[in-house]
Symmetry: C2
Subunit: 213 residues, 2 copies
Amino acid sequence: MDKFPITQKTEITRLPKRGVYEKEQIYSILDEALFCTLAYVRDNQPFQIPTGFVRIDNKIYVHGSVGSFYMRELRDKKHPVCISATLMDGLVLARSAFHHSVNYRSVVIFGEPELVENKEELYTALERFTEKLCPGRWADVRKPTDGEWKNTMVLSFDIKEASAKVRTGGPKDDEEDYTMDVWAGVVPFKIKRLEPIADELLKDGVKLPKYLC
Amino acid sequence: MDKFPITQKTEITRLPKRGVYEKEQIYSILDEALFCTLAYVRDNQPFQIPTGFVRIDNKIYVHGSVGSFYMRELRDKKHPVCISATLMDGLVLARSAFHHSVNYRSVVIFGEPELVENKEELYTALERFTEKLCPGRWADVRKPTDGEWKNTMVLSFDIKEASAKVRTGGPKDDEEDYTMDVWAGVVPFKIKRLEPIADELLKDGVKLPKYLC
């Protein structure tokens, strides 16, 4: 299976058995995550931006207004960035406080920003981003005008270095604690999409589309 | 209402009406978030660590093993950090692709690590962290032994500078798009806790506690 190289920046040194370097598994975490956080450095001070994103092939795409301070800064200064995305899958309840844990899948990526100027790549990035969050939506809506495209900046980050850290399964307790009268197990988490709420200004007669039912 | 000062680092410059500086609202986002990402800088390279945390008063507490590389590094070098926590509340579906958005509440904090050495503060941090993720749990489980305490490091971060960015409500479309036959509205997200799954090695006769029902 195709893997990212293990580098000084991406090696999982704490609990190395949780380390994952397989591209396929890292991509699937990125494809499920609703947002990422993008960290960069200015004057030795770390900054973070939570933002939506989409992965296409080996690249992360983020977009924003051409007026966005951080987008302009990344575009102009090409700061090295660290991008992370995390899925919280559940609470792991052990018999001892010490062995409590969480099941999670998190990815950490290192790369540099690149301004996307190719029109087809721009279009694909925004279409795929929309379809990631809401499959079926792109075909249904008014597409961007020339003016809207001019107001939109897209940055790409080739995934140069990446690793994931993953915990699954039940609690691991100390041998002598298994006889305790304490419930132990996992409480899974799931992000649910609730009933859609129509806009107050929705045009009369417009029905909820099938892809939202 | 008590507010954090607006500083060069925390001012929301893009869509300033989404900026929130009220301590109460920032605290409530932190108290609802299941994890944060902690960013710091080494040799001008940003790093990010996704981690559980608890807020108590004006401090963020994170914990880990005394063997954790990043915890030791933060303890020893007192790197300035940026901490962020984000709640994704829903998709905002507009009639035009351009006006699609998400409802979210995100907090960004700046501070520095401090090693927690006071035993009462240590105990409170871990008790409150456990109770944040699973109310009722702490009273039920075996408390840490001296050896387990020795293996646990807790760092605190006084929230020196912080702001939140919050979007709520429905889509805002261009005037001329309101007559389009396109469904528009909000799809809310909610993190649900599913049915608890008992550990395979659960002692016979131990029932699911009330706080998990």
